[in-house]
């Protein structure tokens, strides 16, 4: 039986190694400075890049974090500071539902809310969809980390005459901060790779665009469009773009995990 289980472990780890290996083998060859700095060229020519998608991902994910992080952290702090409140119970329940909502459904929602009303595909709508995916993740980590802060710290601050909000901000939040940063980074890493909610909100584009009220390219969308395209050259771009995307995602999630690990070993 143990042999079977070791077999299961090997089968489980194999895809990761296989995917990473393929990404490097098929993608690294097309990576060059030009790939990061240039725009796409028409099919048939060589030497294009994905600068537009890198900039697009930065803008879309940046804006999503701007909306999603404060909302998620605020809601998490509320649920931790007033755990018995009726609103806290409701918010916790709804955020669980939200966490399980398929990202494509959130995309349809952002389309109906923004794109259908403004009659214009826009990066802003994409950011809103991604922000909505972030909120439940960030909220949960924030709440759990604040609960880990020892009550004695809070009591000490209150006994010294600190008001409740100053205790919360300067003592409790300050103590839980590294963990909240980790949770936020993980959430950013996850939404950076999301494609489905962007399909009919940010839409994608072949040009560099800095206007958030217009369609904008993003790395995952570029991977998708190149992958299902008919040209050999596009498939190579798809692999190279995927390699860039996965480096972004893995660096973010590794950084997040290392940050927590260091904190724990530092305390021990």
């Amino acid at each position: 039986m143990v042999g079977l289980m070791i077999g299961a472990v090997i089968l489980a780890v194999l895809p990761l190694l296989f995917i990473l290996l393929n990404l490097v083998l098929k993608g690294a060859g097309s990576l060059s400075l030009a790939f990061f700095t240039r725009m796409p060229v028409p099919a048939g020519e060589t030497g294009g890049g994905v600068a537009h998608a890198i900039v697009g991902t930065l803008i879309i994910v940046g804006m999503a974090s701007l909306f999603g992080l404060p909302l998620g952290i605020g809601a998490g702090v509320f649920c931790a500071e007033y755990p018995g409140a009726r609103l806290a119970k409701l918010t916790r329940f709804v955020s669980d539902v939200m966490n399980g909502t398929p990202s494509i459904v959130v995309g349809v929602f952002a389309w109906a809310l923004i794109v259908a009303r403004t009659k214009q595909f826009s990066a802003l709508a994409g950011s809103c969809a991604l922000a909505m995916l972030m909120v439940p993740m960030v909220m949960r980590t924030t709440e759990e980390l604040i609960k880990l802060v020892p009550n004695s710290l809070r009591e000490a601050a209150l006994a010294l005459g600190y008001s409740r909000w100053r205790t919360s901000v300067t003592i409790v939040l300050r103590t839980a901060l590294p963990g909240i940063v980790t949770g936020s980074l993980l959430a950013v890493a996850r939404i950076a790779g999301e494609t489905a909610p962007l399909l009919f909100t940010a839409l994608g584009s072949q040009f560099m665009s800095l206007k958030i009220t217009e369609p904008m390219a993003a790395l995952p969308l570029t991977v998708f469009n190149y992958a299902i395209g008919p040209y050999e050259e596009w498939h190579r771009y798809a692999w190279a773009t995927a390699l860039v995307l996965i480096m972004v995602v893995l660096v973010l999630s590794l950084a997040a995990r290392l940050a927590t690990r260091q904190r724990f070993s530092g305390n021990a």
Partner: protein, 325 residues
């Protein structure tokens, strides 16, 4: 030491008043943030419903049973899509559950301590890979392998079953299920691992003291104790599989026909939304797609609620796995 001069304008009472105002402001901001979550969700349900209304009015619940999907004739029924979604997810579970439970049990009970953390870490990295990258890998690496080796092998050995007959295309229900299995495995593994770790040591010790082997202890004392938590983990994986879009869209072949053969292309609810939403030909087509989204949403809410309930029963309110991903 110089005497500090207290500013006379600020008495103790006034400063208390000030901090009360601060408290009120602080709580107000937090309440707004916490309120935004249910409000957003209510908006989501409302928008999906109003978007789907024309289709709901026209087809009613018959939408779920209808099997024609013809945007030109404005004839819409979601039955093959719903079946495709359920079938691909169940097949994925069939592959992923034994594997992830094997890994979870091995990592909590049998593996040498040094390799427990690294292996769990590597498998959790699998969860961080974006779904579009799985799709890319599926199209260009997995499908060629399946088409050249695995599918012909299955047809030769299990061809007497209706599931493994018929022409082999490549993009197919089975290919999509395999990629889904790879994608949901890390979730099932990490949640069931947490549940297994939470089983009290006394449970294991008692079984061992009665003369059970380590394997018998696992099967008779530990797994039964964690059973509802493990089922919760599996249903959580099911919820993910139901809503998964990109990798499935890229691998399933996107053909709206039911076929007994798993080698044949299929379609799912998420895939039809991804493919047709930007190119919808008319208002009714859009409404039908929104209706599909609504059905998918209701389905995942039900599945997730069942999972949470089971996991909560084990961990008594502690959100095991809630902090995942």
């Amino acid at each position: 030491m110089a005497t500090t001069i207290l500013p006379e304008s600020r008495t103790a009472e006034q400063s208390l008043e000030g901090s009360r105002a601060g408290d009120r402001l602080f709580k107000g901001v937090l309440v707004l943030a916490a309120l935004a979550v249910p409000v957003l969700m209510a908006f989501l349900v409302y928008e999906l419903y109003t978007g789907a209304r024309p289709a709901i009015v026209r087809y009613g619940l018959g939408f779920i049973a209808g099997s024609t999907w013809d945007p030109v004739a404005e004839e819409f029924g979601a039955f093959p899509l719903i079946v495709g979604t359920l079938l691909s997810s169940f097949l994925a579970l069939l592959i992923a559950v034994p594997l992830s439970l094997g890994v979870a049990i091995y990592l909590t009970e049998f593996a040498p301590r040094v390799i427990r953390q690294p292996i769990a870490f590597v498998i959790e990295l699998l969860a961080a890979i974006p779904s579009v990258v799985y799709g890319l890998w599926g199209i260009f690496v997995l499908i060629p392998i399946l088409k050249a080796h695995v599918f012909p092998f299955l047809r030769d050995t299990l061809g007497f079953l209706p599931f493994f007959q018929g022409p082999i295309y490549g993009p197919s229900m089975l290919a999509a299920s395999i990629i889904l299995a790879i994608m949901i495995m890390p979730f099932i593994m990490s949640v069931s691992r947490e549940v297994l770790i939470a089983v009290p040591g006394s449970q294991r010790e008692a079984a061992l003291a009665l003369g059970a082997t380590r394997w018998e202890a696992v099967m008779s004392a530990i797994v039964p104790y964690a059973r509802s938590g493990i089922i919760g983990a599996i249903i959580l994986g099911l919820g993910r599989a139901l809503g998964e879009t990109m990798a499935v869209t890229m691998l399933i072949g996107n053909r709206n026909e039911l076929s007994a053969s798993l080698f044949a292309p299929g379609y799912t609810m998420a895939a039809v939304i991804a493919n047709e939403f930007t190119e919808a030909v008319g208002d009714l087509h859009l409404a039908a797609l929104a209706y599909v989204a609504l059905v998918l949403f209701v389905l995942t809410v039900l599945v997730n609620a069942a999972a949470r309930l089971l996991i909560w029963r084990v961990s008594k309110g502690g959100p095991v796995g809630g902090k995942g991903a």
